[in-house]
Every structure is written in C-alpha cells, then in structure tokens.
C-alpha cells in the first residue's frame, strides 16, 4: 500500500464524518424548527415563544448545509484550539463504539444503583470498570476509592447537612 493510499483513509473517514455531522445538524434543525412552528410566534413587535427557536433552527440548518460544502468544511478547519477546547482536534478522541456502549451502561448503572445501594457501591462499579479498561492495579486503588467516597459523603452529610440517597451517615442510617 502506498503512502498516499494510507493517508487518504483518514481523510475519507473525516469526509464521511463531516457529512454525517452535517446530516445530524440539518435533521436536528428541521425537527426543532417544526416543533418551534407549533409555538405562538407573537404579535407585531412582540416575539412569541416560537420565534427565537425558529431563528435558531434556520441557523442550524444553514450551518449543516455549509458543512456539506467541502471548501467550507475543510478550508476553515484549523488546529488552534479554544481556551477550554481540549476536545477540538478531529480524531484526537476516538473510543470504540463497543466501549462507548459499555460506558453508557456503566454510567446509567451508576445512576440507577445509587439510590438503592448507596454511593460507595455505585462508585466501586465505576472504579471496577475504569480499572478493567485501563488495566490498572486493583486493591490499593479500591481502598482509596472507598475512603474517598466516604470522605465526600461525610463532607456533604455531616458538614453541609445534605442527606444523600442510599447509605447515610446522618441519623436514620440506610434509607
């Protein structure tokens, strides 16, 4: 395989990505615009609740359409990042789809588990998956995670008086 062929693959991926992003923008803009049209538009001089959203929908569709024009999409792309734009550079962040699905389940599990099993156990779930994915050491980190979690519970419950769901250090114990 030639070098040029190797280089063209990421470029093709990027083009496909730009087209997909444009399609999502246009679809989202159209859907949001249709929903905005259901809202009152207001009378002369007074914008109704649907007017501003409709303007936004038009703007998003326009931006999506511009993304489909390669000259705009590629010619304007640069590598200078915004201040907190640690996430701007294309391709810098690319977890696999399966990992994303697993992480989504883990995070939802964290939210669902918390009110029943308490924060310490749900934090351990996140810790276990993180350790597994990163192949990091287990025992010491697990102990530190638990100690940290109980410290945070203590700060919020005993320090700030906020009762957390699940296991509680405040009078009443396990809810």
């Amino acid at each position: 395989m030639t070098g040029a062929a190797v280089e063209s693959e990421p470029s093709a991926d990027r083009n496909r990505g730009d087209v997909a992003a444009a399609a999502v923008c246009i679809a989202l803009g159209v859907a949001y615009g249709v929903a905005a049209l259901q809202l009152p538009k207001g009378v002369h001089g007074q914008l109704g609740p649907g007017s501003f959203p409709f303007l936004l929908a038009v703007a998003l569709v326009l931006v999506g359409a511009l993304m489909l024009v390669p000259r705009f999409s590629r010619g304007l792309a640069r590598s200078i990042e915004t201040e907190e734009g640690d996430d701007v550079v294309d391709g810098a962040v690319a977890p696999r789809a399966l990992e994303v699905a697993v992480l989504a389940l883990v995070m939802l599990g964290y939210v669902i588990l918390w009110p029943f099993a308490g924060m310490a156990l749900s934090a351990l779930l996140v810790f276990a998956v993180s350790t597994y994915l990163r192949r990091d050491q287990l025992v010491v980190n697990a102990v530190v995670t638990l100690l940290f979690t109980f410290s945070i519970i203590a700060v919020f419950e005993l320090g700030l008086g906020i009762r957390l769901p699940g296991f509680s250090l405040l009078p009443g114990g396990l809810q």
């Binding site: 997909a20 992003a21 923008c25 989202l28 809202l39 009152p40 001089g45 007074q46 109704g48 609740p49 501003f52 959203p53 936004l56 703007a59 998003l60 931006v63 993304m67 010619g75 304007l76 640069r78 200078i80 990042e81 915004t82 201040e83 907190e84 734009g85 640690d86 996430d87 701007v88 391709g91 962040v93 977890p95 990992e99 994303v100 989504a104 939802l108 939210v111 924060m119 749900s122 934090a123 996140v126 810790f127 998956v129 993180s130 350790t131 994915l133 990163r134 990091d136 050491q137 980190n141 995670t145 940290f148 945070i152 519970i153 700060v155 919020f156 700030l160 906020i162 957390l164 769901p165």
Partner: protein, 507 residues
C-alpha cells in the same frame, strides 16, 4: 484605589487567605493533570460553594483555580511534552527542547515568573480599566448588549478548531437554553410534557456533565500518558543571559494576553499562539525558536496568564463570559443571585474588589507555591486514572444531587456526559455549547426588549453606533479563521515537527 484597598482588607482575613491558598493548590493540580481544567474544577465545586453560601469565599477560591490552572499547565509541557492545559500547547515547542538540553529548571522558572508578572499586570489593568468601562457600559441599551453577546458567540465560532462545528455547538447551546417555561409568556417549550424540564436545563448540571463526566468517559478508554520519559527539572535557576532574554517576551506576552483575554471567545490558547508568533517575528533569537529558545516559553506563558485576567473584564463589567471558565463563573454569580454587568460595581462593589484583590494575592501564592514544589506537582501525573475517574464521578454525582435533591438530575448529568462524549468523539468543541447555553436567555431577552422598543422594526438592531460597530466586527471575525489559519497552521506544523523529532530522540 480605596476600593481596591478595601478588597485587600476583605481578602486578608484568615479564612479567605486559606481559600485563596486552596484555590491556588487545586488550580495548579488540575493544570498539571492533562484533561482536567479550571472550568471542570470550578463546575465541580459550584454545588459545594452554593451549600456554603459565601459568594466572596467562593470567588476567591475560583480565582485561585483559574490562575493556578495556567501556572500548572506549563510543568508537564516542559518536562513531559504533554500540555496540562490547551493554553500550554505552544509551550511544549521550546519548553521541552530546553528540558532535553538540561535547561528544564530555567524553562520552568521563566514560565512561573512570566506568569506572575503577566498575572499581576493583567489584574492591575483589570482594576484600572474596569471603572471607566463601567461608566461607558451603563449607557448601553438592549441592542448594544445583544450585539456584544453575538460578538462573543461569533468569536467563539471563529476561533474554534473547526468554525462550522463550533457554530453548530453555539446554536445547540442556544437551543438547549430555550428548553423550559418561557419567562415572558409562561408557555412550555420543548419539555415534552415533562414537569422536570419545566425549569430548563440547569447550567451547573450541563457544565459538570459535558465537561467532567465526558472527560471521565474518555479517560477510561484512553491509554495513560507515558511518564517514563519525564525529564528531571534540574536546578530551578536562570542565568543572567536567560533573565535578559526573557524580560521583553514577558512584557509583550502580558500586553498581548490581556488584550486577547478581553475579547470574548479568544482565550488563553489563542493568546499563547499569537505571542509565540510575535516572538518568532520580533525576537533577535528567532532562529533558535523551535530548538529551545527561552523566548518561546516566556512569551506564551505570560500571555496565557494575562488572558485569564483580561477575560474577567467582560465578565464583571458587561456580564458576558468569553470562555468556558468565565461562563461557569457567571453561572456561579447567577447561583448567588448576583447580576453581573455595570451595576455589579455599584450593588456588589465589595465582592468585585475582593475578587480583584484575591487575584493579586493568588498570583503571589502561586509563584511561591510553584517554583519550590515543582517535583511534587509532577508526582500528580502518577495518580492512575482508574483512581481519579471514580473520584470525579463521586464528586459530580454528589454535587449535582445536592442542588435539588433529585435523582432526575443525576440521570440528566449522565445523559449530558454521554452527549459530551459523542460530541468530542466527533470533533465538536464543548466550550461554544456551554457559552450558547449560558448566553441564550440573555440574547432572547435583549432581542425581545429591542423589538418591543422599536415596535417590531428589525432595523433597530443597527440603530446604535456601538451595536452597528460590534455587529460589523462580529461579521468580519467570522472570516478570521481564513486570515488567522496561516499563523495557526505554521505554529502547529512547528509543534508537530518538534514532536516528531522528540519521538525520534526518545526511540
């Protein structure tokens, strides 16, 4: 001046000194750790500070974190060739070369001293310029504010990594700001009949979900930074020649950084890149740039710190944030029921001047903390992400839950985190989304006020000289990427070439 002295009087109380120190330590730590930044840290701490109920203390803490993040970012750039903050990306070019040549200590010292000088200059400029600007801003009408907010969003789009994607994110943020009950008519918008969405999407939850949770999710799938090629800082010492060569870049970087920081959307990274570009043009040692020239560290590091001070100006005087960090700080002001803008100086003068005084104090603390403790900060890189990730999730979860004691908020947090992951995975920046979300209601309000005042005549948007000028500027700046792209690409190419050389040397 007497107001500033009163600010110092407030800040010098023991509990506030402690908070300033805590902010400086936390800020430096998050600056050192790649991925975490001041915006994430401040958003994580928002619920805790709300519970404590002391706005002065909270903002003193946040100021320390903001400046500290800029200080800490340079350490890993120089010693590891891994920028802790995006604002320190450009520092890797010459900073790491200096470290490879055994001048890591000098690079760290010029970065720290430059940051101190720039931070002090920027805070002084903030203190001097704020009051006159307030007098001007008091005369602003709805159209002027609308134009300024649109300028902020245009700049964020124009200066983002991919302007069209940044623009899409700005619009998405504005769309999210319309979710909930319309404040003027009481009409529900985009709530899908859910009462929980009636109050809209809480900015704090959005910031924590989009920044912190998405960072955790990405970190779980990312290989840990290899610290095996960490270079010892050596003696923290600069020669007389290095002092002489650093002086002018510190001054230039301070001025550039403050001016760029004042512009909404430009931010610390752009300030650092411009400073580096200018040093490449004006420095007598420009032929050494890219090979370990101290000017390549001194200028950008001064610029990124000065921009932090500069970015406080539009936030405090106009109530318009120009970056994700200042957007989170604006949310904090709103959380405390404090309205930023020209009236802030009249209604909450004590708070404002205490914040400004705390920035001076934080700067002194940071330079004292950073130089002798460099080796300690570097140890933070050894904290495994499998430990750091659950900690962030725990703080995020508890913080968000404490806002409304609602499990629904936790679900929203996770959903926004997943949205952040998907967006980042596809190269969409999150800072414009956050800015759109926070400015959305203000833009809609000012637009409505302007049109009511003009009886529906859209021509009112260009009726004021300030608004017309600002809108024209916004339109021009939307094309800035084409003009600035050359400078950015050149610096990036240098950086990439440099990284390539480093890899060869290591292998």
């Amino acid at each position: 001046m007497s107001e500033l002295l009163q600010g110092f009087e407030t800040v010098l109380q023991p509990e506030y000194l402690l908070l300033a120190l805590l902010g400086a330590v936390l800020g430096t730590a998050v600056g050192v750790l790649p991925g975490l930044g001041p915006a994430v840290t401040i958003s994580l701490l928002l619920p805790v500070t709300f519970a404590l109920g002391d706005p002065v203390g909270a903002f003193i803490l946040f100021g320390g974190i903001f400046y500290g993040g800029m200080y800490g970012g340079s350490t890993t750039s120089i010693l590891l060739n891994v920028p802790g903050e995006t604002a320190s990306v450009v520092t890797t070019i010459d900073g790491h070369q200096m470290a490879l040549r055994g001048r890591g200590g000098a690079a760290l010292m010029t970065a720290a001293i430059g940051s101190f000088i720039a931070g002090t200059v920027a805070t002084l400029a903030l203190a001097l310029v704020a009051r006159p600007l307030v007098d001007v801003a008091i005369g602003f009408g709805p159209v002027d504010y609308l134009a300024l907010m649109l300028l902020a969003l245009a700049l964020v789009s124009a200066l983002g990594g991919h302007p069209l994607k940044s623009a899409a994110m700005v619009i998405l943020g504005l769309m999210l700001s319309t979710v909930g009950i319309d404040f003027q008519t009481g009409q529900e918008r985009f709530t899908f009949g859910s009462l929980r969405l009636g109050d809209g999407i809480d900015f704090v939850i959005a910031a924590i979900g989009l920044f912190a949770i998405s960072e955790v999710l990405i970190s779980m799938t990312r290989k840990q930074e290899d610290t095996s090629h960490l270079i010892a800082a050596g003696k923290i010492h600069m020669t007389a020649e290095e002092w002489r060569r650093s002086a002018a870049p510190w001054v230039r970087g301070s001025i550039i950084g403050f001016i760029v920081g004042v512009l909404p959307g430009a931010g610390a990274s752009v300030a650092a890149f411009i400073s580096y570009g200018i040093e490449k043009i004006v420095s007598p040692f420009r032929h050494e740039m890219g090979k370990g020239a101290i000017e390549g560290v001194a200028g950008p590091e001064a610029a990124n710190n000065a921009s932090a001070g500069g970015s406080m100006l539009p936030l405090l005087v106009l109530g318009i944030p120009g970056s994700a960090t200042t957007a989170v700080m604006l949310a904090a002001f709103q959380g405390y029921g404090v309205t930023t803008g020209p009236l802030l100086f009249q209604e909450n003068g004590d708070l404002v001047w205490a914040i400004i005084a705390s920035l001076f104090l934080g700067n002194v603390m940071l330079v004292l903390l950073n130089l002798p403790l460099i080796s300690m900060w570097v140890q933070l890189l050894k904290v495994p992400p499998s430990l750091l990730n659950p900690m962030i999730v725990v703080i995020s979860g508890v913080g968000v839950y404490s806002l409304n004691r609602s499990s629904w908020d936790l679900l929203l947090l996770v959903l926004l985190g997943l949205l952040g992951l998907v967006l980042r995975r596809n190269g969409f920046p999150l800072a414009p989304l956050i800015l759109g979300l926070i400015l959305g209601s203000g833009i809609e309000t000012q637009l409505r006020r302007a049109l009511i005042g003009s009886d529906g005549d859209w021509g009112v948007l260009l009726s004021s000289p300030v608004a017309t000028t600002v809108m024209a500027l916004a339109a021009i700046l939307l094309f800035a990427p084409i003009l600035l792209g050359r400078l950015g690409r050149r610096v990036t190419e240098d950086s990439e070439a440099q990284s390539g050389d480093d890899i060869k040397e290591i292998s």
